[in-house]
Amino acid sequence: MRRNRTTRPWLAILLLVSLPAAATAAPEGILTLEPRPAPDFEVSDADGSRFSLEAARGNWVFVHFWASWCAPCRREMPSIQRMLEALDGQGPRVVLINTAEDADTIFFFLAEVAPELHSYSDRNGRITEAWQPRGLPATYLVDPQGFIRYQALGGRPWDEPLYLEFLRRPGNHSD
């Protein structure tokens, strides 16, 4: 009994100290940002399907900018396809936004590198301009309240376990 009384406070302290650790670090190459409102956008694809960021509130959203001429995009896109297969409906909504290319270019590029994916088009580049990525490819994670919380530096191996774990529970990660 006496032993239990002396250890309990320490256990409580340990528990308190370890609580912040539950927010595990984001994977390498993922910057945790000071939350800022995500610029709203509405995009469509070649079939007329539309996506509105505002309408996606309540969900995490994986916003990915790319172009066919960008070699890292070509390398990264298959990993996004595998990521979606592995997540199997868990994790954020994923919206791919092509920067300033026509429908044929988008179609033939995806058919070659990631045929299961489909992308929306920022035909005039204005949405990309509003988001001001550091370069292409660029990926952001927008929280359910519409704030940008994470930014990926360049292309990432999204289908690797650390990234999948991060994407399943993005709100549980910090610096």
Partner: protein, 193 residues
């Protein structure tokens, strides 16, 4: 404001997207005219591009002739930068100088300058956007290990060039300044002025 500084090397870089397909997976060392600086803090690679290379790239993306004609008049150099320090490295093109052996400064054309040209000729917005994304950012807070690439554009000259570039370091820019001097760059496909 970004608060995390990952140390990571990108698998490929934006600038490689502008290289001929056969060069994308090959060693950069094989590219003609390439010059490089590499030390414990910074890696900088410059690859001059011929007017034909640039025209082919932009023609392939549906740029109008007037845009391509203008690009042919300038010297395009693809730049690859990597921050090898453990701190923020401030890339600012306004602190880059290109000079000839006699000290003559060669003007650089900024992305604002290009945008003004495109505005004047009422270039299509998609082409303007693509062009902008193929340029090296004017300013960037490079995170440790981060790489970025893109083109810079200079007035044409047939003379060899020295690059002198200054980089502030540290989140608050109070770290030791890095001064880079890199010789031997030449515009590709130059005609003697």
């Amino acid at each position: 404001m970004m608060t995390r500084c990952p140390c990571f090397v990108f698998p490929l870089l934006l600038l490689l997207g502008t290289l001929p397909a056969g060069a994308q997976d090959g060693p950069l060392a094989q590219l003609p005219g390439r010059v490089e600086h590499d030390d414990s803090r910074l890696n900088v690679i410059l690859v001059p591009r011929t007017p034909q290379q640039m025209a082919a790239f932009y023609e392939g993306r549906g740029f109008p002739d007037a845009m391509i004609d203008l690009t042919r008049r300038y010297c395009f150099v693809t730049v690859l930068l990597q921050n090898k320090t453990e701190d923020i490295l401030w890339h600012e093109l306004e602190r880059w100088r290109f000079v000839t052996a006699d000290g003559t400064a060669i003007a650089r054309r900024s992305r604002d300058w290009w945008q003004a040209q495109w505005e004047t000729m009422q270039a299509p917005l998609p082409s303007r956007s693509t062009f902008r994304w193929t340029l090296l950012p004017e300013r960037l807070d490079f995170h440790p290990g981060e790489r970025e690439g893109g083109n810079i554009t200079l007035e044409r000259t047939g003379k060899p060039l020295r690059l002198i570039a200054r980089f502030a370091t540290g989140t608050d820019r109070t770290g030791e300044e890095i001064i880079l001097r890199l010789d031997g760059l030449r515009c590709a496909g130059d005609q003697e002025p």
